[in-house]
Amino acid sequence: MTVFIQGAIRQAMPLLFGATGEILTEKSGNLNLGIPGIMYVGAISGVIGATIYEHTVGAEAIVPALAVSITLLASFIGSLLMGLIYSFLVISLRANQNVTGLALTTFGIGIGNFFGGSLTKIIGSQTANISLGNISKYFKMTPPIADKLGWFGDWFLSYGFLTYVGIIVAIIAGYVLKRTRVGLHLRAVGENPATADATGVNVTKYKYVATCTGSVIAGLGGLYYVFEYTGNWSNNGFGDRGWLAIALVIFALWKPVIAIIGSILFGALYMLGITTTGISRELKEVYELLPYLATIFILIITSIRNKKENHPPASLGLSYFREER
């Protein structure tokens, strides 16, 4: 049971980061289908940062705090650049969001796998994996009191700091969107940019900031997967989790706090396939399908019930041109 819960939560976190980032982005009216690519870039940038640092100072001289900061910073920069590419094309140049997003995903996965493959060559490793054990152990460090609290510690405190960051970020995002003036403006931009513009909200600024912040948060999801979940980089190892994160956004009805529960549910479904012994391979595949089916189901139900608060942002997918009113 403990293994199952821990696994579910570890599986959940990359999705939660991705979904929180995408919710912020979508609330500004941008449907960023580049999230899967951004998560790859967030991960590989962290890997590059960590590897360069480790090679510069040597494995013995690693300063934990510095190593973690460099990794995080590298990931930030990588994801931010991806977010800026998307924002510039979509917001400033008013390009089609679907096309830009898909191109960004191609690009991002290409970058991830290219540098992933080349780094192993530079280090001279024989396998296709980059081992990050020396630095990832600091990401895996659990709160010191976890061992003394029995099942409570195992269930809730046996994770690295990024897990808690993920949950806190989701809660903060939920709070900002729902309860603050900034969140109100952001939602207005996503629902009806012309009206928001008329009331004096700087639409371009909000879209840029929301999309780039969303990218950075989503990139952390990739970083989490590599540094806390697996501890090494392998090409395509991240798989389709980026798309699952986009599914989670719909599943959570564009509410970050629901995304926390949703992500753990998705993680649990994934774990059901892995840990349950004695189930057939067919059933395992069905479990992997369930998140997508559940998402489709929710998409249909919300559109049939037609309640305003459960809808996607009204201007989602449309670019805003001020002179075209």
Binding site: T106, F114, G117, E282, T295, P312
Partner: protein
């Protein structure tokens, strides 16, 4: 007080939508953007591989046109990509964002493969081909129909719906492979190629595919530009309200168009299994469903331009595969280059559709 009143904040430039741009100007803009993309790609290549860019571009051409066999394969892959792009185009013209081409193609693959596996040996070879083709068309159409129906009646977000359907299709393929025990060895998830139910060889393996897609291109060009249904699609795409006022049944148009879109995707799936791979896996479509969206959009939904854009993208794939081979790079280098080229072409559309007007310095502004 008066001081503040006279101080006007004027932006340095503002953006105006162009009414129309002569087609040759538009193509100059696009050519410049591709040229810029090539320059940036060269820099990236030098930076990452430390190779002479001229050699690299030479390798690129070699990868796409090196031998006769490669050229045939190049044109086969262009045709396959073009087929999927043609499939998504009517839906896009209607502003129905069908991001589910990947899934619709895969369902076509699955249907083709399953039909041959179950009927093979019981019916004659030509009949088998016809039945598997029909099965592929139906499977693709159904996969396109499901989101279309919900969009027509409930306005269910089609982008997200079709995206999810891709992964359901992928899952269904893995599930079928396991359930029907198609694997060549237990647990490998690899399916041996079919020996029967394959497209007949005409001259070589690729010509049938190329000719089929050429026909579809012609059909789609006429369908979109010279038929009533094609006209209805553009009206719905421009404005659903207008379509309603002039008596077009939008629901019908959406459902009908997605049936066609899905069916052509199914055809692409049939060509992939019956004409190219002979086998089926969740990766048989190889991302074509997504690339097709870019091909179609970059060509402004014009089937003839799509020949050019799909050529461009496949050329880059082939070329950069050769770069990775001859300079011993990682295979994914091609995706980086493709991404850069697409970014530039996407960006260039802005300069075709909009005009930047610099602020005129007036006397009162001084």
């Amino acid at each position: 007080m008066s001081n503040i009143a006279t101080k006007k904040h004027e932006p340095l430039f503002h953006i105006v939508k162009r009414n129309a741009i002569p087609w040759w100007k538009a193509w100059i803009v696009r050519a410049i953007s591709i040229l810029l993309a090539v320059v940036v790609c060269s820099f990236v290549t030098i930076l990452l591989t430390k190779q002479n860019p001229v050699l690299v571009w030479g390798a690129m051409f070699k990868g796409a046109f090196g031998t006769e066999r490669i050229v045939w394969r190049l044109f086969r892959d262009i045709s396959l990509l073009l087929c999927v792009s043609l499939a998504v185009t009517p839906a896009f013209k209607m502003r129905f964002w069908n991001c589910g081409a990947e899934g619709q193609v895969l369902m076509g693959c699955l249907a083709t493969f399953a039909t041959v596996r179950f009927l093979g040996g019981t019916v004659s070879e030509p009949l088998l081909l016809v039945i598997s083709l029909a099965a592929a068309l139906i499977a693709g159409a159904v996969w396109g129909l499901i989101p279309a129906v919900f969009y027509a009646f409930f306005k269910t977000n089609e982008t997200l719906f079709t995206l999810m359907m891709n992964y359901v299709a992928k899952g269904l393929i893995t599930l079928s492979i396991i359930y029907f025990q198609w694997e060549n060895t237990f647990g490998s998830q690899i399916v041996s190629p079919l020996r029967i139910g394959r497209l007949p060889k005409v001259y070589n393996d690729h010509l049938v595919i190329i000719l089929t897609v050429a026909l579809i291109t012609l059909f789609m060009y006429i369908y979109l530009n010279y038929t009533k249904q094609g006209y209805e699609i553009s009206v719905v795409g421009e404005s659903e309200n207008t379509a309603n006022y002039i008596g077009i049944n939008v629901k019908n148009v959406v459902i009908r168009t997605m049936l066609i879109s899905g069916a052509i995707c199914g055809l692409a799936g049939f060509l992939l299994v019956s004409g190219k791979d002979g086998t089926v896996s969740p990766d048989t479509a190889d991302g074509r469903g997504f690339t097709a969206i870019m091909v179609s959009w970059l060509a402004k939904f014009n089937p003839i331009y799509m020949i050019i854009t799909s050529f461009l993208l496949v050329f880059f794939q082939f070329g950069s595969k050769e770069i990775t081979r001859s300079f011993r790079l990682n295979d994914d280098f091609s995706e980086i280059l493709t991404g850069i080229v697409i970014f530039f072409i996407i960006g260039s559309e802005f300069f075709i559709n909009y005009q930047i007007k610099m602020r005129k310095l007036t006397k009162e502004g001084k």
